[in-house]
Assembly symmetry: C2
Homo-oligomer: 572 residues x 2
């Protein structure tokens, strides 16, 4: 079923899933509902926007890594359509209750906060003014004291309440900490504009999801796939995503000092290897799953020198952007910043790019750790400088007069320099999501699904990267609509496995081409929304300095023509 | 000829006018050259943008009111194409020297300021570092001391040097004061990004412009037209544009307190009638021409209580937006603010809309005169708050969390509420220039050129306003490419006169349909640039609150469908 919560009238309605949405889930469902129901020209923080919260097509099933939660809305950061997905415990519970989507719409006139309680018995809206201004950690603590430990909790921090465009939505992890985030695109600000501080979800008494066709077969495939993933993804299990720091630095891809070089002199100090050492020394954890059913387990738990919990999941993107990109070679500081972001409720990536831009302006220097902590204070205080940073890199760059602003469609670029990782550059330039590596990350060794892209490319060369990005954007969209972590691999082989799982669960008979066709439909939906929102394909491009400034000893520039970027989705 | 100044290499080149530009001038030429030469995705303040300075097709001629100067570039305020035109003495001199356009391109690497000296003998680039940080009034004073009084001077203030998106370019008036401004769209920031502080233009020794066909006939038509204008525009001569305050307030069109009502309780104190009284009492001037050859003479010279010069041309838009829109019923304060804007080099309109938005945020109250002066100090100091305001209403609203932001495509709305003056609302929503009344202002009594629009409309009703706006946008574009002040009237009768004048001057045989056809071409050029810059026609719309909040006793909303707004230029 679909549950609609109208925040203007406070009415809550159950709705049977319309037939047209039956085979949609995750990003597939959020983007479709946004196109169907949200005026593309609406104010993202006004009553016309909607927050759609949905688990994926395989959510709650025995499929490995299928517990990602998609949250979609028109983004206050990009002005376009957005889906941001995260791990944690919520998606599985929603699926088990049988809720395909929670739709939060309208807007209260009164300045009061609410929380939404979701159980198999029903959905309730409760007052939550006592949580005003509280960070996610305290919010979760208070809610657990009041409602017990069974709930998975989505929540927003002060940033979401204030409408900062970099505000995230936290999801509690398996230990009950608000450490998993739908970080990108300001979804927290949209939920905050609806005055929803938190969503509590408990699935007690439910029996688990149903399989229309062949539960045994589903579980057999899932088991086999899990085995393969456990074997092939050992590097993620052992070093987490931070394993990328060393190879990306070696390739010249690691954004350093506001994307001015791709090699950081202190890369070793923030490497996955060093992180692993610290985790071991201090009794932290690695090989830690971010959601139930995750077999890759790339997450970690970071502790300080005294063995006290700091944060969970210190990730490559956070380390790259709050570390190297700010000239900071100090994992303890990056971990404290990560904890701050999780608690305050903002995207670590957008903050890292934004601080890099502030450093570029000369207001503080690259590597100035004290200066960074002062900026954090400005955010906490909600000063003008804090409000400015809260709007992200593009707005901050404009106000501070910085010309080198690494963002696309208003969203900060992820932790890969597009001049040296050109396929990912194509994804940044063309994804309806704005600069977003998770929309199709063309790392070395990644392959597409067409013969000409089923080979290894030199990632620093333009050849083949446009095609590869297009393929990976489609196959990643498949993961996103299934609720699968894209670390299972957006690969042609996996499309086969995914089609079999969907068929076994839903009693249909999709081929792997069919699952790709659904992804094409999904991207078209998003492209159409963006066009109507005033963001045409002709806006596809990277910031000028990537075309002009040379990177590293190979003197790389981004050399894939704007015309090709603008036509990538012409004949989907 | 066309003069190109490359600020990267400091080379200055003369170029014969290409045939395709022969019948283009003013906005027609600036927009065409921008489409031909500027990458629409370039950074507006980077080396890829160009500033095109051009007088109109009738510039320097005996045609009345033909001395407007067009300045065009990709706008840092809207991200799209921009032309902003102003009076003053420069356009006539450029025409007399025979310069069709000055094109400033590239960007110096060094942080030094330059000035450009233009005479019939040639064009020189000179150092101007001693003018750094100086206001327009002081800049002009220093330049006159150094170079004498013969020059017409274009200049930028601190705002343009700093890259504020609301930065204007000043043009000296007939008394030598920098009081005429190409205000809209941040042209001053683009000139500042090229490190040009000032342009000096002297036409001494030139004989005036040539008439290819029939000088006598040209002058006869011009003389007759002047007579008609003097007779029919007496209200502008007597009360200036401020004559509009009283009728706009009566109609409920005068934006008051951030467009929350259309009637200002203190309208009388800022009315054209009261202004005229003050001008008379204090020895100011009215019926004052803003450029040589102006016969309408709507400008004025405002003096303070001691009879000291404060500013020239206190205009309706300034009074409406810095006055009523900020809840300020005090002409002396508005005049001081106007002087500040002229000196600091910013658009009075964008500042008025932005201060209204700051007031809406609650940071200061509507009507708080002291608070306004503090904001001015922030601008002067270049504090974070100052930098923020300098970026205009849209960015300020976003950072301060204000939902009611009256701007379109990033540019603040002029001093007419679009709910009560619906045709002008159509112009705001659809003009490639962003919200801009001068692109086609549908005041009561204005008529179009098609039979169905050649009648009076109720300006508060939707009927006929879409058609009227379209017609007026075209006929205004004709004025803009001729260098004619649009107060001559974008009327069907005037299209006939204008075609005769063009024919007599250039030896061609355009009909009035032909001059409209040139305007269609011009708008198409701009629409195409904007599409390529990522601003499609689907972005045409007004801020949400104009559709939702009711205005005045008639409970007016803006009720012209977004679909129609998006299709207005479909079949030009």
């Amino acid at each position: 079923m679909i549950i609609r919560i109208d925040m203007t009238t406070k009415e809550i309605k159950k709705q049977a899933v319309p037939k047209k949405y039956a085979l949609l889930g995750g990003r597939g469902l959020t983007s479709r509902m946004i196109l169907d129901e949200v005026n593309p020209l609406c104010n993202p923080l006004g009553p016309g926007n909607k927050v759609i919260i949905a688990s994926g097509l395989l959510g709650g099933s025995a499929a490995p890594c299928s517990g990602r939660l998609s949250i979609g809305a028109k983004s206050p950061l990009t002005g376009g359509i957005k889906e941001s997905n995260g791990g944690g415990t919520a998606a599985v519970k929603l699926s088990k209750i049988g809720i395909k989507a929670l739709v939060v719409e309208g807007q209260p006139e009164e300045d009061k906060l609410y929380l939404l309680k979701v159980t198999p018995e029903g959905v309730e809206l409760l007052p939550a003014d006592e949580l005003k201004g509280k960070g996610n950690y305290e919010t979760v603590k208070i809610l657990k004291q009041k409602y017990g430990n069974n709930y998975s909790i989505l929540s927003i921090g002060p940033a979401g309440e204030r409408g900062y465009s970099m505000a995230s939505i936290a999801i509690t992890d398996m230990e009950g900490n608000p450490s998993r985030h739908c970080g990108r695109g300001g979804m927290g600000a949209v939920l905050g504009s609806k005055k929803i501080k938190a969503v509590l979800i408990d699935d007690k008494g439910t029996r688990g999801v149903t399989y229309k066709k062949d539960e045994k077969e589903f579980k057999r495939i899932a088991r086999e796939w899990s085995k393969t993933l456990i074997q092939t993804k050992a590097i993620l299990t052992n070093f987490g995503t931070a394993n990328l720091v060393t190879p990306m630095n070696a390739l010249g891809v690691l954004p350093t000092k506001n994307f001015s070089t791709g090699c950081f002199e202190n890369a070793e100090k923030i490497s996955g290897e060093h992180l692993r050492e610290l985790l071991e020394q201090r009794g932290g954890a690695y090989g830690h799953p971010c959601h139930p059913g995750c077999v890759i387990r790339c997450s970690n738990v970071f502790k300080d020198e005294n063995g006290e919990y700091v944060t969970s999941a210190l990730e490559y993107e956070t380390i790259g952007l709050l570390g190297a990109n700010c000239g900071i070679g100090n994992l303890d500081l990056v971990a404290r910043l990560d904890r701050f972001c999780d608690d305050f409720g903002i995207d670590t990536m957008e903050l890292g790019v934004t601080i890099g831009v502030v450093m570029e302006s000369g207001m503080i220097s690259f590597g100035d750790e004290k200066g960074v902590m002062q900026l954090i204070e400005e955010l906490e205080k909600d000063s003008i400088m804090g409000k400015l940073i809260g709007q992200g890199a593009a707005v901050t760059g404009r106000v501070l007069g910085v010309q080198r602003v690494p963002s696309v469609k208003g969203q900060g670029i992820s932790s890969y320099d597009p001049r040296a990782l050109k396929g990912t550059g194509v994804t940044y330039a063309t994804s309806p999501m704005g600069a977003d590596h998770t929309a199709g990350n063309c790392l070395p060794g990644r392959k597409g699904y067409r013969p000409e892209t089923m080979k290894d490319f030199d990632v620093t060369e333009a050849e083949g990267q446009w095609e590869l990005s297009k393929d990976l954007q489609l196959m990643t969209a498949v993961c996103d609509y299934c609720g699968l972590c894209f670390f299972v691999g957006p690969t042609w082989e996996n499309m086969e496995i995914i089609s079999q799982l969907i068929n076994a669960r839903y009693g249909c008979s999709l081929s792997k081409d069919d699952v790709i066709a659904l992804a094409k439909q999904l991207i078209k939906t998003e492209v159409e929304f963006n066009l109507r929102a005033g963001i045409p394909q002709s806006a596809n491009g990277l910031p000028e300095f990537f075309y002009r400034e040379k990177l590293g000893p190979k003197e790389l520039t981004f050399d894939i023509s704007e015309e090709r970027l603008q036509r990538i989705f012409d004949n989907l």
